[in-house]
Symmetry: C2
Subunit: 154 residues, 2 copies
DNA sequence: GGTGGTAAGTTTGATTTTCGGACGTACCGT
DNA sequence: ACGGTACGTCCGAAAATCAAACTTACCACC
């Protein structure tokens, strides 16, 4: 594994949702595709990898697995509060992808409860101003320290 | 590769910055660690993988590679406008990691230009209200279509 | 002019992960 | 009994990742 790394909540967050297919699986659950085969179809992940990802997301408390039929046994995946709290990350990625990667118009559009087409903005909770990269400065940094393993177990 | 997948800017964004170490490398550049050895030390990535990630981020227009010394030849990496535009994603991940993953106090703290400790919030650009997961509904979804390759070239 | 150090990678060979297709299990409908 | 659906697991092949050693290019000191 790695020798040293900065102690950092970005790294910690990515250890939980940063592996391939994890955020896309969460996206599907948020979009209402809650069943295994739908998530496979809509993400394009391999069945075994997706099963592993869903297991680890459930273990991390991001998703919840619920049985909605006993005969036959059928399950669905729901976002927990922690999972719903990732919405800003998904919306941020979508907005960035719309602007800098996707050619043509945004493939997916959301509506906010105010009635408008949702365009997410990142603002400072204190002053309400939009956060610009040059208006933000690190004031305390996590230490760089020896690590044995950066990655999630499982 | 995969058979089908949803056309989606989240997936497109992740094809550019979703591989392991990419966002952590960008984090380091944002924090002011612009040189190769610093990024290796602070992320914990292998040198060869990091070199590949930096190459692909430069190719995608997220980072820029600049020579700051000719003798000896030395280089640094800077965030482009597209790279700086990922700040909300990094802050969103950090905030989520602080809340749901990292034990104890936030390892890294930023200050906003207003003087306050930065706490990022995701709001609707139209009404300014904070975006809650249950206040957002998809109104148009990208098609699920056959794909040959979801991943970035390189 | 030889030794040591720094910076930015590249090479190497072993390990780990991912891939997609086939298979398994449990049930339902006809 | 046969076909279909849902939710995975298993398999061997292919690709990605790992850590350490090596390379190149320069500078500083003795």
């Amino acid at each position: 594994m790695s020798r040293t790394a900065r102690e950092c909540s970005i790294a910690n967050a990515l250890a939980v949702v940063g592996e391939r297919w994890s955020l896309l699986a969460l996206r599907e659950v948020m979009l209402g595709a809650r069943r295994f085969d739908q998530i496979v179809e809509n993400t394009g992940a391999s069945r075994d990898i997706l099963a592993a990802r869903l297991r680890s997301l459930v273990a991390a408390g991001v998703l919840e697995k619920r049985q909605y039929s006993e005969h036959p046994p059928r399950h669905e995946y729901l976002a927990t509060e922690a999972g719903r709290a990732l919405q800003p990350v998904l919306l941020g990625l979508m907005d960035w992808g719309d602007r800098y990667v996707t050619a043509g118009p945004p493939p997916t559009v959301w509506r906010h409860s105010c009635g408008a087409e949702l365009r997410p903005r990142c603002v400072c909770a204190s002053c309400g101003e939009q956060v610009e990269a040059n208006g933000v400065t690190p004031v305390r940094l996590g230490d760089v320290r020896p690590v044995t393993d950066v990655r999630p177990t499982g």
